[in-house]
């Protein structure tokens, strides 16, 4: 036994000699962790994603002379320096360099003060690109819908960046949300419920419904329905949502555990919500976009059918019980509006049929 003990001790010494914990390496990350501008100017908390900062400001702000201040990952640096005065008539680029100097990330910093666009043709997309892990080169991954009107740009939100994580080799047209050539006029949006394979199943997200919404997407693995942040400031009273759709339900309906639910048919969803923004509710997400007590009015398509013909819809906004619109709050940007579309109505909870396809085109939001 002595020998055994001796052996064990000498082995432990060996391990320790070889394996002392080294000094911590400098940080390799390069994030903007927060952004500060004079608080009176902001009507929302700053929206910070991995490569973008959006600042919703009231229209009294002179965006040609702005000096936002940033906090960064510890030890990282930013160019131009935090607090530099710049003209934000168009989005400005900042470059953050990590503490170890090996990694750089570009951020687009955008000031938004005008009304969001309300006419949507789905004619324009831009490509999301990032460094490809295998080649180390920049690669285009998926399409992002964007609409521009007289210098006013708007980018649609979707869940494609979540799909990309587990299917990085997929072609842009195999993503849940992409553009199609067969529009009602020109091109259109095509939303498809996709399987995410065994890796998706491991993340408890076996399917990915095609979705398109006004807002931003920030992946939340703990509660994926919270990844979708719906809504942007809206200064008018929304009245009606009008557009065209085509829909085909997938053949096999499955639940979140990928069990087949016989006899159940998938359906799509198109709706718009108008809600009040409060300190605790800066945006709605997939868990409360139809149930939050902040919702003032909803326009939701109920007369839905499977059809391969372009079908017009016109959905009036209906006020929630006991809710009214405060004109002062409306003017000062205290309300948000979101339009939300999905190829599977319960896709946020991963119930749906792979292959369900929703086409949407020529949509317009009427307001007064």
């Amino acid at each position: 036994m002595k020998l055994l003990r001796l052996g064990l001790i000498s082995f432990c010494i060996c391990i320790m000699m070889a394996s002392c914990i080294k000094d911590e390496a400098p940080n390799a990350e390069a994030d903007i962790t927060s952004c500060k501008i004079p608080s009176k100017a902001l009507i929302r908390d700053p929206v910070i994603t991995n490569d973008k900062v959006i600042l919703y400001v009231n229209d009294s702000v002179d965006i040609t002379k702005q000096a936002p201040e940033f906090t960064l990952t510890e030890g990282a640096s930013i160019l131009p320096a935090s607090g530099t005065t710049r003209d934000f008539s168009s989005p400005q680029t900042y470059t953050v360099t990590s503490q170890d100097g090996k990694w750089k990330k570009s951020y687009q910093v955008e000031y938004v003060f005008n009304e969001m666009l309300t006419v949507y043709h789905f004619e324009n997309v831009k490509m999301y690109n990032d460094i490809d892990y295998d080649t180390g080169k920049t690669k285009d991954f998926f399409q992002i819908f964007c609409d521009t009107l007289q210098g006013n740009e708007m980018e649609w939100g979707d869940g494609n960046s979540g799909f990309m994580i587990i299917n990085s080799d997929a072609a842009a047209t195999d993503y849940p949300t992409c553009q199609s050539d067969s529009g009602y006029v020109g091109k259109c949006a095509k939303l498809t419920t996709r399987s995410t394979g065994s890796l998706g199943a491991m993340f408890n997200a076996p399917i990915a419904a095609g979705n398109l919404f006004i807002g931003t997407f920030e992946i939340n693995l703990t509660n994926t329905a919270k990844s979708t942040h719906f809504g942007v400031p809206f200064y008018s009273t929304p009245k009606e949502l009008v557009g065209y759709y085509k829909y085909k339900a997938g053949s096999v309906f499955t639940d979140s555990k990928m069990n087949v639910v016989t006899g159940k048919k998938d359906n799509f969803d198109i709706y718009a919500v108008f809600y009040e923004v409060t300190d605790d509710v800066q945006y709605l997400d997939g868990t409360n976009s139809l149930t939050s007590s902040n919702i003032v009015s909803i326009a939701r398509l109920t007369d839905k059918m499977e059809t391969n013909q372009w079908t017009r819809f016109a959905i009036p906004f209906q006020m929630n019980n006991g809710k009214s619109i405060d004109q002062n709050k409306l003017k000062s940007g205290k309300y948000n509006l979101a339009i939300i579309m999905s190829s599977s109505i319960d896709g946020a909870n991963f119930n749906g049929a792979v292959g369900s396809t929703l086409y949407v085109d020529e949509m317009q939001l009427f307001y007064e």
């Binding site: 391990i15 911590e24 991995n50 990694w103 994580i165 703990t222």
Partner: protein
């Protein structure tokens, strides 16, 4: 599965033969062989150790737990003692052995991949990592022995191993993955969310390295042994780039032997 059966079957066969021998008087053939300098031994032992980086990589911030597991080994050894004094000898044999460990560590910016069925998420992980490693090896040692006195023998040499089956897997939790690069999308794993990884098919089949040992004869035919084997090669194939630092198997085998 076949390998598992083999692993159990071979030692059982060994033991049966030991018992059979022990019950009989020693064969005159054996006595003659011993006079000519030949010695036969069967050994049973336990491997304690782990796969360790040569010098702790900077990515590892703390080791939270480590368990060597119970890794059995069985071996048949042939030794030839030279000259009249029989102080120097040479041995070889065949060993079937298991090596393994469970370790959990906290890491920062640790390059890894989460893989299932060809789909994968690659990136840099900061947070907790649990690693399970196990392998079953068929090993040939080639050793030079030196006898100090009746009781103490030391030996040194090399060993060559072939991995019959191997497993390197684990999970990550309580942290975040930067997708692709340290500036990629941040995927947070919190509130008990975990993801698994599995690098079984990237393990190298052959392993070799130096082996040194010491034996103590407790009784006439009964020995206590301790042998340290250190693998010279990274446990993964050269083409495997996911884990950026090399890991080497270092195992101490402690056990007993019976000389015929």
């Amino acid at each position: 599965m076949k390998n598992r059966i083999l692993i159990i079957a071979i030692p059982l066969m060994f033991f049966n033969s030991i018992l059979a021998f022990a019950q009989q008087d020693r064969d005159s053939v054996l006595i003659n062989l011993e006079k000519a300098g030949w010695e036969y031994e069967v050994k049973a032992g336990c491997n304690i150790g782990g796969i360790i980086p040569l010098g702790m990589p900077q990515e590892i911030r703390s080791i939270n737990s480590y368990s060597p597991r119970l890794n059995g080994s069985f071996e048949g050894v042939v030794t030839h003692w030279f000259f009249k004094d029989k102080k120097w000898g040479a041995s070889t044999g065949l060993r079937i052995e298991a090596k393994g460990m469970h370790a959990s560590a906290t890491v920062k910016n640790y390059s890894t991949e989460i893989i299932t069925d060809g789909n994968r998420v690659a990136g840099y992980w900061t947070g907790d990592v649990n690693t399970k490693y196990s392998g079953t090896f068929l090993t040939l040692p080639f050793l030079v022995d030196y006898r100090f006195n009746k009781r103490w023998i030391i030996n040194a040499g090399v060993y060559v191993s072939y991995m019959l089956e191997g497993n390197f897997s684990g999970d990550v939790s309580n942290g975040y993955l930067r997708q692709g690069t340290p500036v990629g999308e941040k995927l947070e794993f919190k509130d008990g969310k975990t993801a698994t990884y599995d690098f079984d098919s990237d393990l190298r089949r052959f392993e070799w390295g130096p082996e040194i040992g010491v034996s103590w004869k407790a009784f006439n035919r009964f020995k206590l042994n301790a042998d340290l084997a250190y693998g010279f090669d990274h446990i993964f194939k050269k083409s495997f780039k996911t884990i950026t630092f090399n890991l080497y198997p270092v195992y101490l085998n402690v056990g007993f032997g019976y000389i015929f």
